[in-house]
Protein backbone atom coordinates (compact mmCIF):
# COMPACT_ATOMS: atom_id res chain seq x y z
CA UNK A 1 0.00 0.00 0.00
CA UNK A 2 1.28 3.44 -0.85
CA UNK A 3 2.14 5.95 1.86
CA UNK A 4 -0.37 8.37 0.35
CA UNK A 5 -3.27 5.90 0.60
CA UNK A 6 -2.35 5.17 4.21
CA UNK A 7 -2.16 8.89 5.09
CA UNK A 8 -5.55 9.46 3.44
CA UNK A 9 -7.07 6.55 5.38
CA UNK A 10 -5.61 7.84 8.63
CA UNK A 11 -6.82 11.40 8.00
CA UNK A 12 -10.30 10.24 6.94
CA UNK A 13 -10.74 8.02 9.99
CA UNK A 14 -9.47 10.70 12.43
CA UNK A 15 -11.78 13.30 10.89
CA UNK A 16 -14.75 10.91 10.99
CA UNK A 17 -14.14 10.00 14.64
CA UNK A 18 -13.58 13.62 15.77
CA UNK A 19 -16.64 14.78 13.83
CA UNK A 20 -18.81 11.99 15.27
CA UNK A 21 -17.67 12.68 18.85
CA UNK A 22 -18.15 16.45 18.44
CA UNK A 23 -21.59 16.04 16.86
CA UNK A 24 -22.60 13.69 19.66
CA UNK A 25 -21.40 16.14 22.31
CA UNK A 26 -23.39 18.91 20.60
CA UNK A 27 -26.41 16.55 20.48
CA UNK A 28 -26.65 16.89 16.69
CA UNK A 29 -26.81 13.14 16.08
CA UNK A 30 -28.28 10.29 18.16
CA UNK A 31 -25.78 8.01 19.94
CA UNK A 32 -26.35 5.06 17.59
CA UNK A 33 -25.20 7.11 14.57
CA UNK A 34 -22.00 8.07 16.42
CA UNK A 35 -21.50 4.42 17.37
CA UNK A 36 -21.99 3.34 13.75
CA UNK A 37 -19.42 5.90 12.54
CA UNK A 38 -16.94 4.73 15.17
CA UNK A 39 -17.47 1.06 14.31
CA UNK A 40 -16.62 1.86 10.69
CA UNK A 41 -13.77 4.29 11.37
CA UNK A 42 -11.97 2.74 14.36
CA UNK A 43 -10.62 -0.34 12.49
CA UNK A 44 -9.32 1.93 9.71
CA UNK A 45 -7.69 4.13 12.35
CA UNK A 46 -5.94 1.19 14.02
CA UNK A 47 -4.59 -0.30 10.81
CA UNK A 48 -3.63 2.93 9.08
CA UNK A 49 -1.88 4.17 12.21
CA UNK A 50 0.25 1.02 12.21
CA UNK A 51 0.96 1.26 8.50
CA UNK A 52 1.63 5.01 8.70
CA UNK A 53 4.28 4.69 11.41
CA UNK A 54 6.22 2.21 9.43
CA UNK A 55 4.95 2.35 5.85
CA UNK A 56 5.32 -0.84 3.80
CA UNK A 57 9.00 -1.50 3.32
CA UNK A 58 9.67 -5.17 2.68
CA UNK A 59 9.59 -7.28 -0.46
CA UNK A 60 6.47 -9.36 -0.98
CA UNK A 61 7.14 -12.85 0.23
CA UNK A 62 5.46 -16.25 0.13
CA UNK A 63 3.89 -17.62 3.34
CA UNK A 64 5.95 -19.54 5.88
CA UNK A 65 6.01 -23.17 4.75
CA UNK A 66 8.17 -24.85 7.40
CA UNK A 67 11.75 -25.14 8.55
Amino acid sequence: MKQKTVTCGLAASVIAIVAACAALAAALIPPWVAAAVLVAAFPVLVLSLGLWWRAPGGEEDIPFIGY
Binding site: L38, V39, L47, G50, G57, P63, I65
Partner: protein
Protein backbone atom coordinates in the same frame (compact mmCIF):
# COMPACT_ATOMS: atom_id res chain seq x y z
CA UNK B 1 -17.04 7.43 22.68
CA UNK B 2 -13.65 6.69 21.19
CA UNK B 3 -12.30 6.65 24.77
CA UNK B 4 -14.48 3.59 25.51
CA UNK B 5 -12.95 1.72 22.59
CA UNK B 6 -9.38 2.63 23.48
CA UNK B 7 -9.94 1.83 27.16
CA UNK B 8 -11.60 -1.50 26.35
CA UNK B 9 -8.81 -2.53 23.96
CA UNK B 10 -6.04 -1.57 26.40
CA UNK B 11 -7.76 -3.06 29.45
CA UNK B 12 -8.56 -6.24 27.49
CA UNK B 13 -4.89 -6.58 26.54
CA UNK B 14 -3.93 -5.97 30.17
CA UNK B 15 -6.31 -8.78 31.18
CA UNK B 16 -4.63 -11.07 28.65
CA UNK B 17 -1.27 -10.07 30.17
CA UNK B 18 -2.55 -10.93 33.65
CA UNK B 19 -3.80 -14.21 32.19
CA UNK B 20 -0.28 -15.09 30.99
CA UNK B 21 1.27 -13.99 34.27
CA UNK B 22 -1.10 -16.08 36.40
CA UNK B 23 -0.59 -19.15 34.20
CA UNK B 24 3.17 -18.69 34.49
CA UNK B 25 3.13 -18.34 38.28
CA UNK B 26 0.96 -21.46 38.66
CA UNK B 27 3.46 -23.33 36.51
CA UNK B 28 6.34 -21.93 38.67
CA UNK B 29 7.77 -19.72 35.91
CA UNK B 30 8.44 -16.00 36.32
CA UNK B 31 6.27 -15.15 33.29
CA UNK B 32 6.17 -11.93 31.27
CA UNK B 33 5.20 -8.60 32.87
CA UNK B 34 1.45 -8.03 32.85
CA UNK B 35 1.65 -5.24 30.26
CA UNK B 36 3.42 -7.57 27.83
CA UNK B 37 0.39 -7.93 25.53
CA UNK B 38 0.07 -4.14 25.24
CA UNK B 39 3.76 -3.95 24.34
CA UNK B 40 3.22 -6.74 21.80
CA UNK B 41 0.45 -4.79 20.11
CA UNK B 42 2.65 -1.69 19.95
CA UNK B 43 5.66 -3.67 18.76
CA UNK B 44 3.72 -5.28 15.92
CA UNK B 45 2.37 -1.93 14.82
CA UNK B 46 5.95 -0.69 14.32
CA UNK B 47 7.02 -3.62 12.15
CA UNK B 48 7.28 -3.29 8.40
CA UNK B 49 4.22 -4.77 6.80
CA UNK B 50 3.11 -6.16 3.48
CA UNK B 51 0.63 -8.63 2.05
CA UNK B 52 1.97 -12.12 1.21
CA UNK B 53 2.43 -12.84 -2.49
CA UNK B 54 -0.08 -15.69 -2.56
CA UNK B 55 -2.79 -14.02 -0.47
CA UNK B 56 -6.23 -12.91 -1.57
CA UNK B 57 -5.22 -9.34 -0.76
CA UNK B 58 -8.64 -7.67 -0.37
CA UNK B 59 -9.84 -10.41 1.96
CA UNK B 60 -6.52 -10.54 3.81
CA UNK B 61 -6.83 -6.87 4.83
CA UNK B 62 -10.62 -6.75 5.15
CA UNK B 63 -10.92 -9.52 7.75
CA UNK B 64 -8.69 -7.52 10.11
CA UNK B 65 -10.96 -4.51 9.69
CA UNK B 66 -14.08 -6.66 10.12
CA UNK B 67 -12.59 -8.27 13.24
CA UNK B 68 -12.00 -4.94 14.95
CA UNK B 69 -15.32 -3.60 13.66
CA UNK B 70 -17.53 -6.41 14.98
CA UNK B 71 -16.03 -6.29 18.47
CA UNK B 72 -16.29 -2.48 18.56
CA UNK B 73 -19.97 -2.94 17.68
CA UNK B 74 -20.27 -5.60 20.41
CA UNK B 75 -18.80 -3.18 22.96
CA UNK B 76 -21.36 -0.51 22.08
CA UNK B 77 -24.17 -3.08 22.16
CA UNK B 78 -23.17 -4.14 25.69
CA UNK B 79 -22.62 -0.59 26.95
CA UNK B 80 -25.96 0.59 25.54
CA UNK B 81 -27.73 -2.42 27.10
CA UNK B 82 -29.10 -3.60 23.74
CA UNK B 83 -30.12 -7.13 22.71
CA UNK B 84 -27.71 -9.87 23.79
CA UNK B 85 -28.81 -11.74 20.68
CA UNK B 86 -26.61 -9.28 18.75
CA UNK B 87 -23.71 -10.16 21.05
CA UNK B 88 -24.41 -13.83 20.34
CA UNK B 89 -24.38 -13.16 16.59
CA UNK B 90 -21.08 -11.27 16.83
CA UNK B 91 -19.53 -14.03 18.90
CA UNK B 92 -20.47 -16.54 16.19
CA UNK B 93 -19.32 -14.23 13.42
CA UNK B 94 -15.91 -14.22 15.04
CA UNK B 95 -15.66 -17.79 13.71
CA UNK B 96 -16.07 -16.48 10.18
CA UNK B 97 -13.40 -13.87 10.84
CA UNK B 98 -11.00 -16.51 12.19
CA UNK B 99 -11.80 -18.62 9.15
CA UNK B 100 -11.05 -15.62 6.95
CA UNK B 101 -7.70 -14.92 8.64
CA UNK B 102 -6.66 -18.51 8.08
CA UNK B 103 -7.84 -18.97 4.53
CA UNK B 104 -6.97 -15.64 2.95
CA UNK B 105 -3.18 -16.02 3.05
CA UNK B 106 -2.70 -19.31 1.20
CA UNK B 107 -0.59 -20.67 4.06
CA UNK B 108 -1.34 -24.30 4.94
CA UNK B 109 -0.89 -23.55 8.67
CA UNK B 110 -3.37 -20.70 8.56
CA UNK B 111 -5.75 -22.84 6.59
CA UNK B 112 -5.74 -25.61 9.17
CA UNK B 113 -6.30 -23.04 11.92
CA UNK B 114 -9.31 -21.74 9.98
CA UNK B 115 -10.66 -25.24 9.38
CA UNK B 116 -10.31 -26.10 13.08
CA UNK B 117 -12.21 -22.94 13.88
CA UNK B 118 -15.12 -24.15 11.76
CA UNK B 119 -15.18 -27.70 13.10
CA UNK B 120 -15.16 -26.43 16.70
CA UNK B 121 -18.43 -24.58 16.06
CA UNK B 122 -19.90 -26.89 18.72
CA UNK B 123 -18.44 -24.54 21.34
CA UNK B 124 -20.96 -21.91 20.28
CA UNK B 125 -24.09 -23.89 21.10
CA UNK B 126 -23.77 -23.50 24.93
CA UNK B 127 -24.09 -19.76 24.30
CA UNK B 128 -27.38 -20.39 22.54
CA UNK B 129 -28.54 -22.43 25.51
CA UNK B 130 -27.47 -19.58 27.80
CA UNK B 131 -29.60 -17.20 25.79
CA UNK B 132 -32.61 -19.53 25.68
CA UNK B 133 -32.45 -20.07 29.45
CA UNK B 134 -32.08 -16.36 30.17
CA UNK B 135 -35.13 -15.76 28.00
CA UNK B 136 -37.12 -18.31 30.01
CA UNK B 137 -36.32 -16.44 33.24
CA UNK B 138 -36.49 -12.80 32.19
CA UNK B 139 -38.86 -12.91 29.19
CA UNK B 140 -36.56 -10.56 27.30
CA UNK B 141 -33.16 -10.57 25.68
CA UNK B 142 -32.52 -6.84 25.99
CA UNK B 143 -29.63 -6.34 28.40
CA UNK B 144 -31.41 -3.41 30.10
CA UNK B 145 -34.38 -5.66 30.94
CA UNK B 146 -32.08 -8.41 32.19
CA UNK B 147 -30.34 -5.97 34.57
CA UNK B 148 -33.72 -4.66 35.69
CA UNK B 149 -34.85 -8.24 36.37
CA UNK B 150 -31.76 -8.82 38.49
CA UNK B 151 -32.39 -5.65 40.49
CA UNK B 152 -35.63 -7.24 41.67
CA UNK B 153 -34.79 -10.94 41.84
CA UNK B 154 -31.06 -10.92 42.61
CA UNK B 155 -28.20 -11.99 40.35
CA UNK B 156 -28.85 -14.66 37.69
CA UNK B 157 -25.62 -16.30 38.81
CA UNK B 158 -27.49 -17.51 41.92
CA UNK B 159 -30.84 -18.10 40.18
CA UNK B 160 -29.44 -20.25 37.36
CA UNK B 161 -25.83 -21.34 38.02
CA UNK B 162 -25.68 -23.86 35.11
CA UNK B 163 -26.45 -21.06 32.67
CA UNK B 164 -23.59 -19.01 34.06
CA UNK B 165 -21.39 -22.09 33.82
CA UNK B 166 -22.34 -22.47 30.13
CA UNK B 167 -21.27 -18.92 29.36
CA UNK B 168 -18.13 -19.41 31.46
CA UNK B 169 -17.19 -22.38 29.25
CA UNK B 170 -17.93 -20.33 26.15
CA UNK B 171 -15.51 -17.64 27.37
CA UNK B 172 -12.99 -20.32 28.30
CA UNK B 173 -13.06 -21.72 24.77
CA UNK B 174 -12.05 -18.28 23.46
CA UNK B 175 -9.13 -17.83 25.90
CA UNK B 176 -5.58 -18.35 24.65
CA UNK B 177 -3.59 -21.26 26.18
CA UNK B 178 -6.85 -22.93 27.24
CA UNK B 179 -7.95 -26.53 26.77
CA UNK B 180 -10.03 -25.64 23.70
CA UNK B 181 -7.71 -23.19 21.91
CA UNK B 182 -6.95 -25.63 19.10
CA UNK B 183 -7.21 -22.87 16.50
CA UNK B 184 -3.87 -21.38 17.47
CA UNK B 185 -2.09 -24.44 18.78
CA UNK B 186 1.64 -24.68 18.33
CA UNK B 187 1.76 -27.52 15.82
CA UNK B 188 0.15 -25.04 13.43
CA UNK B 189 2.86 -22.39 14.13
CA UNK B 190 0.33 -19.71 15.23
CA UNK B 191 -2.78 -21.26 13.70
CA UNK B 192 -4.97 -18.82 11.84
CA UNK B 193 -2.72 -15.93 12.90
CA UNK B 194 0.36 -17.36 11.19
CA UNK B 195 0.50 -15.06 8.17
CA UNK B 196 -0.91 -11.88 9.71
CA UNK B 197 2.21 -10.05 10.80
CA UNK B 198 3.18 -6.42 11.41
CA UNK B 199 0.32 -3.94 11.46
CA UNK B 200 -2.17 -6.73 10.65
CA UNK B 201 -1.09 -8.54 13.83
CA UNK B 202 -1.42 -5.32 15.80
CA UNK B 203 -5.01 -5.14 14.51
CA UNK B 204 -5.50 -8.74 15.64
CA UNK B 205 -4.20 -7.82 19.09
CA UNK B 206 -6.70 -4.95 19.31
CA UNK B 207 -9.45 -7.42 18.30
CA UNK B 208 -8.35 -9.83 21.02
CA UNK B 209 -8.28 -7.05 23.63
CA UNK B 210 -11.77 -5.85 22.71
CA UNK B 211 -13.07 -9.42 22.58
CA UNK B 212 -11.76 -10.29 26.05
CA UNK B 213 -13.14 -7.09 27.54
CA UNK B 214 -16.56 -7.44 25.90
CA UNK B 215 -17.05 -11.11 26.83
CA UNK B 216 -16.05 -10.61 30.46
CA UNK B 217 -18.04 -7.39 30.79
CA UNK B 218 -21.08 -9.09 29.25
CA UNK B 219 -20.65 -11.96 31.72
CA UNK B 220 -20.73 -9.52 34.63
CA UNK B 221 -23.69 -7.57 33.22
CA UNK B 222 -25.75 -10.68 32.43
CA UNK B 223 -25.10 -12.71 35.57
CA UNK B 224 -24.34 -10.21 38.31
CA UNK B 225 -26.33 -7.20 37.18
CA UNK B 226 -25.83 -3.49 37.57
CA UNK B 227 -22.66 -2.76 39.53
CA UNK B 228 -20.48 0.38 39.50
CA UNK B 229 -17.97 0.39 36.66
CA UNK B 230 -14.92 -0.02 38.94
CA UNK B 231 -16.57 -2.98 40.65
CA UNK B 232 -17.30 -4.51 37.25
CA UNK B 233 -13.60 -4.21 36.37
CA UNK B 234 -12.60 -5.96 39.61
CA UNK B 235 -15.12 -8.78 39.09
CA UNK B 236 -13.94 -9.16 35.49
CA UNK B 237 -10.35 -9.52 36.69
CA UNK B 238 -11.44 -12.10 39.27
CA UNK B 239 -13.33 -14.11 36.63
CA UNK B 240 -10.30 -13.90 34.36
CA UNK B 241 -7.97 -15.18 37.08
CA UNK B 242 -10.28 -18.15 37.66
CA UNK B 243 -10.12 -18.82 33.90
CA UNK B 244 -6.33 -18.61 34.07
CA UNK B 245 -6.32 -21.31 36.76
CA UNK B 246 -8.38 -23.57 34.50
CA UNK B 247 -6.07 -22.87 31.55
CA UNK B 248 -2.92 -23.42 33.63
CA UNK B 249 -3.87 -26.84 34.97
CA UNK B 250 -5.45 -28.34 31.84
CA UNK B 251 -3.49 -29.46 28.78
CA UNK B 252 -4.65 -28.42 25.34
CA UNK B 253 -6.96 -31.11 24.04
CA UNK B 254 -6.45 -32.68 20.64
CA UNK B 255 -8.89 -31.29 18.05
CA UNK B 256 -11.02 -34.43 18.13
CA UNK B 257 -11.22 -34.48 21.95
CA UNK B 258 -11.86 -30.76 22.08
CA UNK B 259 -14.88 -31.09 19.79
CA UNK B 260 -16.10 -34.17 21.70
CA UNK B 261 -15.88 -32.44 25.10
CA UNK B 262 -17.59 -29.34 23.76
CA UNK B 263 -20.27 -31.54 22.22
CA UNK B 264 -20.91 -33.31 25.54
CA UNK B 265 -21.14 -29.99 27.38
CA UNK B 266 -23.56 -28.76 24.72
CA UNK B 267 -25.70 -31.88 25.14
CA UNK B 268 -25.86 -31.43 28.92
CA UNK B 269 -26.79 -27.77 28.53
CA UNK B 270 -29.53 -28.63 26.03
CA UNK B 271 -30.98 -31.16 28.49
CA UNK B 272 -30.86 -28.52 31.25
CA UNK B 273 -32.61 -25.95 29.04
CA UNK B 274 -35.20 -28.56 28.06
CA UNK B 275 -35.92 -29.40 31.73
CA UNK B 276 -36.09 -25.71 32.55
CA UNK B 277 -38.59 -25.14 29.76
CA UNK B 278 -40.65 -28.14 30.90
CA UNK B 279 -40.76 -26.86 34.49
CA UNK B 280 -41.50 -23.25 33.61
CA UNK B 281 -44.25 -23.82 31.04
Amino acid sequence: MIEYLVFAAVFGLLLLGIHRKVIARIQIRPGPPIWQEILHALKFSFKSTWVPKTASSALFVAVVLVGIGIWSAALFVVLAGESILILFAIYMLHKIVEHGYGLSSGSPYGKFGGVRSVISAASEIPLFVTIAAIYLFTGSLILRDITAYQDIHGPLLLIAPPVALAMYIVILSKMPYGPFSIVESKELVSGYKTEHFGAWRAGLAVTDGLKTFVLLYAFVAIFIGAVPFWAALIIMTAVLISLSFVCAVTPMLSPFDSVTVQGIITGLMLIYAGCLWWVMS
